[in-house]
């Protein structure tokens, strides 16, 4: 534990272990038992590392920081020009990576049960998706930020296409075409910031901009802001690119969507905070971000209301609730940022509960459309209980976790003199409730039709060849519901991790 502060041992491990696992399981290809053993032990190792790791930095170039008055230092506590590619593992990174590691372990467990063959490559993609999200949330330099986003976009396409259905392949194709546009924009944006400041380290660039009072005086900065916002919108699935992301969520296996939506939330948070740190001095920067967030919230929830398939309802609700996360960040105040970050944590948890329930519905053999299946409550009351808890959490009903974060967001909006935003957040909560309970009533609570054959293999490709719902899925549901209730009753357990980050972003933005 006595590592030099700029050489934290856990950061390379959180990146290298999933990459090595991906290579290994890909090589093993079809050796099911070996792949299961490696993938499961690797995901548990990642969870353990994320839990026990202290906080600190990793300076990849290995050179000391340059102290302005003269001299060098390896300590991040002393102000110095860092001049290096840098990762930071702090309280925000810890809570998000711990949750993502937990979800990775469950998703790997489930996918080894669901897929019968050729799953080495698929599990490899899941581990790489984890890596891209871990990179983006820890990064503090432009180079790794850009690589993480680009790499992540390609992996999203890979994971979606892996389900092998034509709808998934089309969604992956469209997503990849647009990732090319967004990636090009981001590269130009970062190059412009670098051209303006001369620093690839984000902390250094912010310090330079602050010292030289670049702020709203530089036209180049506006162009860079525009391109970076474009990438943020695309990476997180915000309006107007939301149809691409909702197609991706709806077309992938529901268990894969758990990791896909987690990665998106991490991208939204990481890029949102970086944009705020870099451009909060620009006039209208926060207003632009806020407008995009509000439009995303409203469009997503309206589209969710129109769906007749549980899978697609969830796909659009994930988009809508991404807007809730970014509304908080866009407010730019300590309370707003805390609310946005807490919403991201909660959103990942309750959406995972709902997606697991959606995965379980596929095992009943009639898809997830509200017209094709009904009456699951009678044969599977526990599953029905789980989906209701997930829906209540998503709708912001106390004492579940969604309530706490939405309350903070509403208070933050009112604190900023924006009651209209508070009203929209409330409307999104109510509409989420209606959209979810429309599906839940039809699929779970409505009396059963003759078409339902409980426990038989599904015609859907996801569950081909399997009959019972895997026990690990119920275990995952129990754990996630437990977390949702605990965070709902004791929100400070999470808020203690998020306060520091919010304070730093607002008051000392050059500190990662």
């Amino acid at each position: 534990m006595n590592e030099p502060i700029t050489n934290l041992w856990s950061i390379p491990l959180l990146i290298v272990i999933p990459i090595l696992t991906a290579i290994l399981v890909n090589l093993l290809y079809n050796k099911a038992n070996a792949i299961k053993t490696i993938a499961i032990s690797s995901s548990i190792t990642l969870l353990a590392i994320a839990l026990i790791s202290p906080f600190g930095f990793q300076w990849f170039t290995g050179q000391p920081g340059v102290i302005p008055g003269g001299g060098y230092t390896f300590s991040a506590d002393i102000f110095a020009w860092r001049l290096s590619l840098e990762y930071y593992y702090g309280s925000l990174q810890q809570i998000l990576i711990v949750i993502m590691s937990l979800l990775l372990a469950f998703v790997v467990f489930i996918s080894t049960r669901v897929l019968k063959k050729n799953f080495g490559t698929y599990i490899g993609l899941l581990f790489l998706l984890y890596t891209s999200a871990a990179i983006i949330i820890m990064v503090n330099d432009f180079y790794h930020l850009w690589i993480g986003v680009e790499f992540g976009s390609l992996l999203v396409a890979g994971v979606v296409a892996a389900s092998g259905e034509s709808i998934s392949q089309k969604a992956a194709l469209k997503y990849t075409f647009f990732s090319a546009l967004s990636g090009a924009g981001m590269a130009i944006s970062l190059a412009l910031i670098l051209g303006l400041t001369g620093y690839s380290n984000i902390s250094d660039a912010i310090r330079f901009m602050s010292n030289n009072q670049l702020g709203g005086m530089s036209g180049v900065l506006y162009v860079a802001f525009g391109f970076l916002i474009l990438s943020w919108i695309y990476a997180g699935g915000l309006a107007p690119t939301h149809p691409l992301k909702s197609d991706v969520y709806g077309a992938a296996y529901p268990h894969a969507t758990i990791l896909l939506q987690t990665q998106s939330k991490l991208m939204l948070v990481a890029m949102g905070l970086i944009i705020l740190r870099l451009f909060s001095g620009l006039p209208f920067a926060k207003e632009v971000m806020l407008a995009i967030s509000v439009i995303t919230m409203m469009l997503g929830v309206v589209m969710a209301l129109l769906q007749t398939d549980f899978r697609w309802t969830l796909a659009y609700l994930i988009i809508s609730h991404s807007g809730l996360v970014t509304v908080g960040i866009s407010l730019g105040t300590v309370a707003g940022i805390i609310g946005g970050l807490f919403q991201a944590v909660n959103d990942i948890i309750y959406m995972s509960i709902l997606l697991l329930c959606c995965e379980a519905v596929l095992y009943f053999g009639s898809g997830t459309s509200i017209r094709s299946i009904s009456g699951i409550a009678k044969s599977s009351p526990w599953l029905t209980g789980a989906v209701i808890v997930g829906a209540l959490a998503a709708s912001g009903i106390p004492p579940l976790n969604g309530f706490q974060s939405e309350l903070i967001l509403i208070q933050a909006a009112l604190g900023q003199g924006l009651p209209e935003i508070a009203v929209i957040i409330l409307m999104v909560s109510v509409t989420t409730f209606i959209a979810l309970f429309k599906s839940i009533y039809s699929i779970f609570l409505r009396p059963a039709d003759q078409t339902i054959i409980v426990g038989k293999p599904s015609a859907d490709a996801t569950t081909t060849g399997l009959s019972p719902v895997p026990k690990v899925l119920f275990l995952a549901l129990a754990v996630l519901i437990g977390i949702a209730i605990i965070l709902g009753v004791y929100p400070n357990l999470a808020l203690n991790f998020l306060n520091e980050t919010a304070m730093k972003v607002v008051y000392v933005p050059w500190v990662p």
């Binding site: 850009w146 396409a157 296409a161 034509s166 090009a184 190059a191 670098l194 051209g195």
Partner: protein
């Protein structure tokens, strides 16, 4: 009067590549032509990034023994542009590979390369 420099010409060439690539990606219906347009766009961005770091009469951004430490920051080209271009080439190739693979799969399924036909009626 704007001075015509090598850097300006490079930026103009990059802009033309980006516009041609973007137009092709958005308006051409053939998937293979869309992929070719993407590579043009990617090349345009790479050229813009390299041009951004260009310094008239500059030197490579490597501090060699005997070179002046005082003059180095003023004469050296910006290294980030070429650095990001190297990675962008790799990412561009990976993206092209994924696009081609998906196009092949969809062509086998639908027997056409027209994006309008392939992407139509995607919901079950």
């Amino acid at each position: 009067m704007i001075e015509i420099t090598l850097q300006l010409l490079s930026f103009i060439a990059a802009a033309i590549l980006v516009i041609v690539g973007l137009t092709g990606m958005l308006f051409l219906d053939n998937l293979i032509k869309k992929i070719i347009s993407f590579t043009l766009l990617s090349d345009g961005v790479n050229l813009a990034l390299v041009s951004l770091g260009y310094v008239e009469g500059g030197i490579a951004s490597i501090l060699t023994p005997g070179s002046s430490v005082v003059d180095f920051p003023y004469n050296a080209i910006l290294i980030f542009g070429p650095g990001i271009v190297l990675t962008n080439i790799v990412i561009g190739v990976s993206t092209t590979a994924i696009l081609v693979a998906l196009t092949i799969v969809l062509y086998k399924r639908y027997g056409t390369l027209k994006a309008s036909k392939v992407l139509k009626g995607e919901r079950k």
